[in-house]
């Protein structure tokens, strides 16, 4: 790996980690689409800020863009509060308008400024290593690394500082409000952090794909754990994994790095969706299969219990008879019997089944339940 390659991967990983932290709360608080709105609308703030400062890394521009993000959240809230449109429609109305103004400004003045739609939309991570920070003649690394690092630190510090408050407000907003944590402060605090992070990330991954880094790792982590702290760490880990694997996918295909990172974030979510230990599709499928066999064994035990002491019930106890009586096919019946035998629920002598004490207990329990 060359030095620029390492630097690109470092920046990508740091940006992904910075996004994953607020992302977890966005997913939990059902505000994922507000982050979509913010990262689109921020474009306007960035463009206007860029016209004023002519420097993509100016703190003023970052402040302006962050404020635009907050403004978006505020507008959505205001529009929602008029009662004239619902929240989903409010989001869908606000950000396209702001985004459109941004795009039009860029295209109208594309000739005179070094800012084009592609960069803003898609980011250009590949160029990040060329933008260096030079302190008294010493090159101390690419700017993107510092910008991302500062934002990651801010996010981590804020979450560590307000962990309890965030946790409470996320899982029991009513109690949090009753205890005196202002819901508005927490909402707009999170929106501010999201905006700041999106501003920091747009440079490397572009306005639209920040959404992928906010949501996909957090949603995947949400499927893997029930513990908030663990979910935060997992989100960060999965985000970094998406960033690194995305970089190499882009390298292989010679394609957009940001796009590849989003794609890999999606792949990671897909893997979590399929293979999550408890909540995955596969785990669910296996649980259903296990339940089917378990249910069949209970049915067998109950059947035997019913006929155990009845006179003339001898045929009912034959293995051969089961497939008629319980409408099981022969193969299934044989399988169930051998499973039950293995668990010590029944014993078999000359094709005649008899409940063990354990089996009897299970049947009685099942009937009681």
């Amino acid at each position: 790996m060359t030095a620029p390659q390492i630097e690109i991967q470092l920046i990508a990983a740091i940006v992904a980690a910075a996004c994953a932290l607020p992302g977890a709360f966005l997913v939990l608080r059902r505000m994922a689409l507000i982050s979509d709105a913010i990262s689109h609308a921020m474009l306007l703030g960035i463009v206007v800020g860029f016209f004023l400062t002519e420097d993509l890394n100016s703190p003023l521009l970052i402040l302006g863009a962050t404020l635009t993000g907050l403004l978006t959240a505020l507008l959505v809230e205001l529009l929602n509060r008029t009662g004239l449109v619902r929240e989903d429609a409010a989001i869908g109305l606000v950000f396209p308008a702001l985004f459109s103004i941004g795009v039009i400004l860029i295209s109208r003045y594309a000739g005179s400024v070094h800012l084009d739609t592609d960069v803003v939309l898609l980011g250009e991570l590949a160029f990040a290593p060329f933008d260096r920070v030079v302190v008294t003649g010493w090159d101390i690394g690419p700017k993107g690394l510092y910008a991302g690092g500062v934002i990651l630190l801010i996010n981590a510090a804020l979450i560590a500082l307000f962990y309890k408050e965030l946790k409470l407000a996320t899982f029991d907003p009513g109690l949090a409000a009753a205890l005196g944590f202002s819901p508005a402060a927490i909402h707009y605090g999170l929106m501010g952090v999201t905006s700041l992070t999106a501003v920091g990330a747009f440079d490397s991954v572009g306005a639209i794909l920040t959404v992928a880094l906010f949501i996909a790792p957090a949603a995947a982590a949400y499927l893997l754990t029930d513990d908030l702290a663990r979910m935060l760490f997992l989100s960060v880990g999965l985000g970094v994994a998406a960033a690194l694997s995305g970089y190499w996918l882009a390298f292989l295909l010679d394609a957009s790095i940001a796009g590849s990172m989003a794609t890999m974030a999606g792949v990671i979510f897909g893997l979590a969706w399929c293979f999550a230990p408890e909540r995955g599709l596969l785990a669910g499928q296996r649980r259903r299969v296990r339940q089917r066999w378990e249910f069949a064994q209970r049915m067998l035990a109950i059947h035997l219990l019913n006929h155990e002491r009845q006179p003339g019930a001898e045929p009912e106890l034959q293995v051969e008879h089961l497939w008629q009586e319980l409408r099981w096919d022969r193969e299934f019946a044989t399988r169930v019997v051998s499973l039950a035998e293995g668990r010590g629920l029944v014993t078999r002598q000359n094709g005649r089944l008899e409940l063990t004490d354990r089996g009897r207990l299970l049947a009685q329990e099942s009937l009681l339940a």
Partner: protein, 394 residues
């Protein structure tokens, strides 16, 4: 308009653009009504972004730039996207908003990977797929408009044929289920219609902003009416107006991308509707609120005068307007209200700045009080405070 019309009739490009934009507004306006009413406004957002990889894949597989082929890919991908959103919310605890954001951004990202991959291919240096990002009305060909027309007709036919069913689905899905309607199937048809409408507009507006065309005309139309039929018509009208205006302006102005222009026009329509629509509009509400507040104020003043009159035991005694100043009303407001009450015959001016309630005014304030001391007593404590201060001043 008189100037623009002959141009429109003559210029092939402009005519094509106008027709395409009209179809776009028509189909997304109609479909948007249902999406907005079902609180699924942002489904369109997810599906339009999701269409991008479909376009790129269709090109990669067929090497054709034929609009019909590319849009078929868009339909397939949009459909797959909506299917995945549905599957995620159904089989996991991830909520709709996260599922939409996830599909939207991941599909879009994958689309970008494919687009950049295509750009690097030697034989496809100018695949022209970029126009699907922000739309390019000027690139519309008559063939494209034919494809859009077919999509629009399909959408309109579905709405006409399933009018009652969709109406029920929107307003009372549970009742629809009880009636034995196949709600799942209807939902699938509705989703397909949204996908179709989005695909119709992709070339003109682009994947990034197409969702606005689904939400905005319907949200604007909603402000003007409470009737579904009217809302569909209005929404279609707004869509058509915004589409045509935006597309024509942008194709006549250099370096003005079509999608954002159309979106700004339609956002303007929404803003006007939110402010000025009768009954629901904010300005209307504000005026009504103001009128109501004035009425409450006049009523309060009349009550004060009545209490004063009762206290003095005569209707002849005039009171200065300063006595009546309470709860932060300015002197001007008090005098204004007094004049209003005077012209209504409830109050008369005894002398300069001396006001007294008339018999009509008394009858209005105390309709059932004749000989009824109880209600008089009940009304008294509340009214006694301004009266007391009035006593000291007069």
């Amino acid at each position: 308009m008189a100037l623009a019309l002959p141009d429109l009739a003559l210029d092939y490009t402009l005519r094509t653009v106008a027709l395409g934009a009209m179809l776009l507004g028509l189909s997304s306006g109609v479909v948007g009504t249902y999406a907005v009413l079902r609180r699924e406004s942002l489904l369109g957002d997810a599906m339009s972004h999701a269409a991008l990889p479909g376009i790129a894949l269709a090109f990669l597989l067929t090497r054709s730039k034929e609009t019909a082929v590319l849009l078929a890919g868009a339909v397939a991908a949009g459909w797959l996207g909506s299917l995945l959103v549905n599957a995620i919310t159904r089989t996991t605890r991830v909520k709709l908003d996260s599922a939409l954001g996830l599909i939207l951004s991941v599909f879009f990202g994958f689309g970008l990977v494919l687009l950049t991959f295509i750009q690097k291919q030697p034989d496809a240096s100018q695949a022209g797929l970029d126009r699907f990002l922000f739309g390019q009305a000027a690139s519309l060909l008559r063939r494209d408009v034919m494809v859009m027309g077919i999509g629009t007709v399909a959408v309109l036919l579905a709405v006409l044929l399933l009018w009652k069913e969709f109406k029920l689905l929107v307003f009372d899905p549970d009742f629809a289920r009880v009636l034995g309607l196949r709600v799942r199937l209807l939902e699938v048809i509705l989703t397909s219609m949204i996908v179709l409408a989005i695909v119709v507009g992709l070339q003109t507006v682009g994947v990034v902003l197409m969702s606005a065309m689904v939400v905005a005309p319907a949200a604007a139309a909603r402000q003007w009416t409470d009737r579904l039929g009217l809302m569909v018509l209005l929404s279609a009208l707004f869509g058509v107006v915004a589409g045509m205006t935006g597309a024509l302006v942008s194709s006549l102005t250099p370096r003005l991308p079509t999608g954002p222009t159309i979106v700004l026009v339609v956002s303007g329509l929404v803003l006007v509707s939110l402010l000025f629509a009768p009954n629901r509009g904010l300005v209307w509400n504000w005026a009504r609120e103001r009128a109501r507040r004035g009425q409450v104020r006049a009523e309060g003043m009349l009550r004060q005068l009545a209490a004063l009159a009762e206290h003095h035991g005569s209707l002849e005694h005039g009171h200065p307007s300063a006595v009546l100043r309470a709860s932060g009303w300015s002197a001007d407001q008090v005098v204004q209200v007094l004049h209003d009450l005077e012209s209504a015959g409830y109050v008369r001016q005894v002398s300069a700045d001396r006001w007294a309630i008339t018999a009509t005014g008394m009858a209005r304030v105390r309709p059932a009080t004749e000989g009824d001391d109880l209600s008089d007593g009940a009304g008294h404590p509340a009214a006694s405070r301004p009266e007391g201060t009035g006593e000291g001043q007069s």
